[in-house]
């Protein structure tokens, strides 16, 4: 397994569009060739080496390549975009669109991640150890086709529109979420272990959403079904007692969405 280390040089002002930072691109390239890859910053193009010290050569394939970003890069976007194999470790905060459209391999963000992490992801594992913001595993603006496969794990909190338009794969959030978690979901699984503010599962037509904490304002288009205990979805376990709902009946189509809500924290429902 070859390791390529990218050490951020200076503070970045205008955000850098760095979709080239992914194992598929680095495989078979020397440190020098990697440094010469072109990234956009605003209206101009620069070599990657303008922003990073590059150490180590890529492996023989994406599978054999690990990229270590050694520092905080909150203003570097699209790291690991469309990667199909290999590993990316960001030892700090990641910028927007980390793991967008990724199809395989693994990304670990040891700090926080900006919005759009794992947008329209198709496969692989994206693990964010800190907090993240909006649109995780979501469809791009205007689209209703979100994440279709793979797994996103967030150890901290996330904000709005998590898993928007999700039709496959899993999102597991250990902390809390804000608004519109699972909006337009039509498949897949979203597990929120903490609290949600409102509009969970709005306009969902299929898929499963689990909220282990309290929902401040419950979505009105859902209908109570039954109480279930100790949920299990493959290797994902949700212990405790849950109220099961079906919806969102606000949609004119036939809906088959399922929402589980912790009985303990949602006494009023």
């Amino acid at each position: 397994m070859a390791e390529v280390t990218l050490r951020p040089k200076n503070e970045i002002d205008i955000m850098v569009e760095a979709e080239v930072i992914n194992p598929d691109n680095f495989a078979g390239k020397s440190a020098k060739e990697i440094g010469a890859l072109i990234v956009w910053q605003g209206p101009r193009e620069f070599p990657l080496s303008n922003f990073f010290d590059v150490q180590g050569n890529g492996g023989s394939s994406a599978q054999e390549t690990t990229i270590i970003v050694d520092g905080d890069v909150p203003r570097v976007k699209r790291i690991g975009q469309q990667m199909t194999a290999g590993k990316v470790i960001i030892k700090g905060d990641a910028g927007m669109h980390v793991g967008s459209e990724m199809a395989g391999g693994e990304i670990v963000v040891e700090g926080d991640a900006e919005s759009w992490a794992g947008m329209e992801m198709k496969g692989g594992l994206l693990h964010i150890k800190g907090n993240t913001k909006d649109h995780v595993g979501c469809a791009y603006r205007g689209s209703w086709h979100g994440m279709t496969g793979g797994r996103i794990v967030i150890d901290g909190n996330a904000m709005n529109q998590i898993g928007g338009g999700i039709s496959g794969g899993e999102i597991i959030i250990n902390g809390n979420v804000d608004n519109f978690c699972g909006i337009r979901a039509n498949g897949g699984l979203i597990v929120v272990k903490g609290n949600a503010f409102r509009t969970v599962g709005a306009e969902m037509t299929n898929g499963i959403i689990v909220v282990g904490g309290h929902i401040s304002r419950f979505t009105p288009g859902f209908q109570y079904q039954v109480v279930e205990k100790d949920l299990k979805f493959g290797d994902i376990e949700c212990p405790g007692e849950y109220k099961k709902f079906a919806g969102d009946y606000a949609m004119p189509q036939k809906v088959k969405g399922t929402m589980y809500v912790s009985s303990e924290f949602n006494g009023g429902l």
């Binding site: 791009y140 205007g142 209703w144 037509t205 004119p252 189509q253």
Partner: protein, 584 residues
């Protein structure tokens, strides 16, 4: 010398001159096709050796949604359509983005790369004419014009109710020159007005609300006005009941209405030399027939109803139509038919928008994805091809996708391959839902169109139909020097290898406009001048004066002032008026 070019040794297809793939040279001097170039002219001319290649006139699209308020709303509604589809700028081209609804620049470049040089915008709402012209002015590479939407116009419906034909004709003439547009478009007559009240019309004899006119009356009057005024093109009709199972019968009945209206185009133009009569003889031009040819009574027994329409079209001489093919994949439905878009949104759950254009018309937009796995979409794919394959005389049909309703125009090469290669159709059919086979006749259709047929469907007939064949759609002497050279050797063409065919149709070897090479193998190499065509027509002053009094009186219902209504010439790129002479 600019605009002077000699194209040697190619196989020429020029249907209006009955040239069927003969090896001959094409000469262009100062942007116009000429019989020959003198020795000195040859010295200065650009010479292209087109040995082993196919030569046609530049492509003409007579129905495409490329400019205007509705197209732009489609762009704004679909950031996802632009996010992953974009083009970097080059020293001579602008950047651009958008897959189904590209930016004006990208749209112009993409058409040109395919060998098209002329595109007409399918629907210009009068109030949005300025906006439409601004976008057409900014669309590079293409000569353009637009059709004025008049099928639900308050003034016209009022005059029809009152039976005042002269005022109605005066109004159409005044509107056409005021908004610098080219022909009359009629969308869901009487129905769009009803949609303002949450209703539609469900039969051709149903009178609409308030104005109490029926679709039949509107179609009859507009076709008669069209011929009375002598426009170059027939009435452009988007029939009622579009997109509903069983609508083919409504369409057929609609086409019967103007069967006794005689075509009388009367324009002052210099005609290029053609063997065939390059004037239209049709009184109605039906658009996107596929969407108007649904059979069955519900989505459960949905089937193709194309044959009912093509049988009728084959038996009469007053109808020409374009297909509205469905090449599968992403599309954006956009039409002046607001209620049909609302119905689609209920059906699909997709995002949608509707607009009411004050006293004139309306529109709707909705993103749509045609899937081979979907039963209805598969039949629609088959139906679009049926429209073109079942019409025996190719001079009665035109190839379109109603871009971007059935699919974006960049997919024309796929449609061409399906028409030319039975194997291509069969291979696609295998990937389709079984309804494509069971609910249409496409599986049993063995017809394979020739390059000559294709030249009729994609340049000669669209140009002839809309009255542009005096300069477009032909390589006759005097025509514009718009040429498309495909890297296709007709003597070695194997339509079973349709993938190569598609590739060669996607990017022309050369696209030449006004005698200048503008695109070469998929790259834009020059930005030519462009023109905008419109009908310049005058009616007797007395008629116009009385009519304008009515218009000014009802302008209180508009949110804009009367003086801001007309579209001045400065909104047009190289305004090119076509003098139209009304009957006296």
């Amino acid at each position: 010398m600019a605009g002077t070019i000699a194209i040697k040794n190619g196989y020429v297809f020029d249907p209006l001159n009955e040239v069927k793939g003969e090896r001959m040279d094409v000469f262009i001097r100062d942007g116009k096709v000429v019989r020959e170039l003198s020795a000195t002219e040859m010295d200065n001319a650009k010479v292209i050796d087109a040995s082993g290649m196919t030569i046609m006139a530049g492509g003409v699209d007579s129905h495409s949604h490329v400019a205007g308020a509705k197209v732009n709303a489609g762009r704004m509604m679909r950031p996802e359509d632009h996010y992953k589809s974009y083009m970097k700028k080059t020293p001579i081209t602008h950047s651009g983005s958008g897959y189904t609804v590209p930016t004006v620049y990208l749209g112009g470049y993409e058409y040109s790369k395919m060998g098209y040089t002329t595109v007409f915008e399918a629907a210009v709402p009068p109030m949005e004419a300025r906006h439409t012209h601004e976008e057409m002015r900014s669309t590079p590479m293409l000569d353009m014009g637009g059709y004025l939407v008049l099928g639900n116009n308050w003034f016209l419906m009022r005059y029809m109710k009152e039976g005042d034909f002269e005022k109605a004709a005066a109004y159409v003439a005044w509107m056409m020159k005021t908004h610098k547009t080219y022909g009359i478009k009629c969308v869901n007559p009487a129905g769009v007005e009803n949609w303002g009240w949450g209703e539609n019309v469900h039969s051709l004899d149903q009178a609409n609300i308030h104005f109490e006119v029926t679709p039949t009356e509107i179609i009859k009057n507009l076709t008669e006005i069209n011929e009375y005024l002598g426009f170059a093109m027939p009435l452009h009709l988007h029939a009622n009941n579009l997109g509903h199972p069983g609508c083919w019968e409504t369409t057929k009945e609609s086409l019967k209405i103007p069967s006794n209206v005689k075509a009388k185009p009367n324009v002052d133009v210099e005609w290029a030399e053609t063997k065939m009569n390059a004037k239209r003889h049709e009184s109605v031009y039906l658009t996107h027939c596929q969407f108007n040819a649904f059979g069955g009574t519900s989505w459960r027994d949905f089937e193709s109803g194309v044959k009912g329409i093509t049988d009728y079209v084959n038996s009469v001489d007053h109808v020409v139509m374009d297909s509205g093919c469905v090449p599968f994949g992403e599309a954006t439905c956009m039409t002046g038919d607001g209620p049909s878009i609302h119905d689609l949104s209920v059906l699909t759950g997709n995002k949608w928008s509707n607009t009411d254009v004050e006293c004139e018309c309306g529109s709707g937009i909705l993103p749509f994805t045609y899937l081979k796995t979907n039963a209805v979409h598969s039949v629609q794919w088959a139906m679009g091809l049926e429209v073109l394959l079942y019409v025996k005389d190719p001079w009665k049909s035109i190839m379109t996708t109603d871009s971007p309703n059935g699919g974006p125009f960049i997919k024309y090469p796929l449609v061409m391959a399906w028409l030319m290669s039975a194997k291509s159709r069969q291979d696609t059919m295998k990937e389709c839902h079984k309804w494509a086979q069971d609910r249409s006749g496409i599986g049993g259709e063995e017809r394979e169109m020739s390059l000559y047929d294709l030249a009729i469907l994609t340049r000669a007939n669209p140009a002839r139909t809309i009255g542009m064949a005096y300069r477009k759609g032909t390589l006759g002497v005097g025509a514009d020097g718009d040429v498309c050279i495909y890297n296709i050797d007709p003597t070695k063409l194997d339509v079973n290898d349709y993938e190569t065919l598609i590739r060669n149709l996607q990017n022309s070897e050369y696209t030449i406009k006004d005698g200048e090479v503008v695109a070469r193998q998929g790259e834009i190499v020059a930005i030519p001048e462009k023109r905008t065509y419109y009908a310049d027509i005058n009616v007797p002053d007395a008629d116009e004066k009385h009519m304008l009094e009515d218009v000014k009186e009802w302008f209180k219902y508009y949110t804009l002032g009367f003086s801001n209504y007309p579209t001045p010439e400065r909104y047009l790129a190289n305004p090119t008026p076509m003098t139209v002479n009304p009957l006296r």
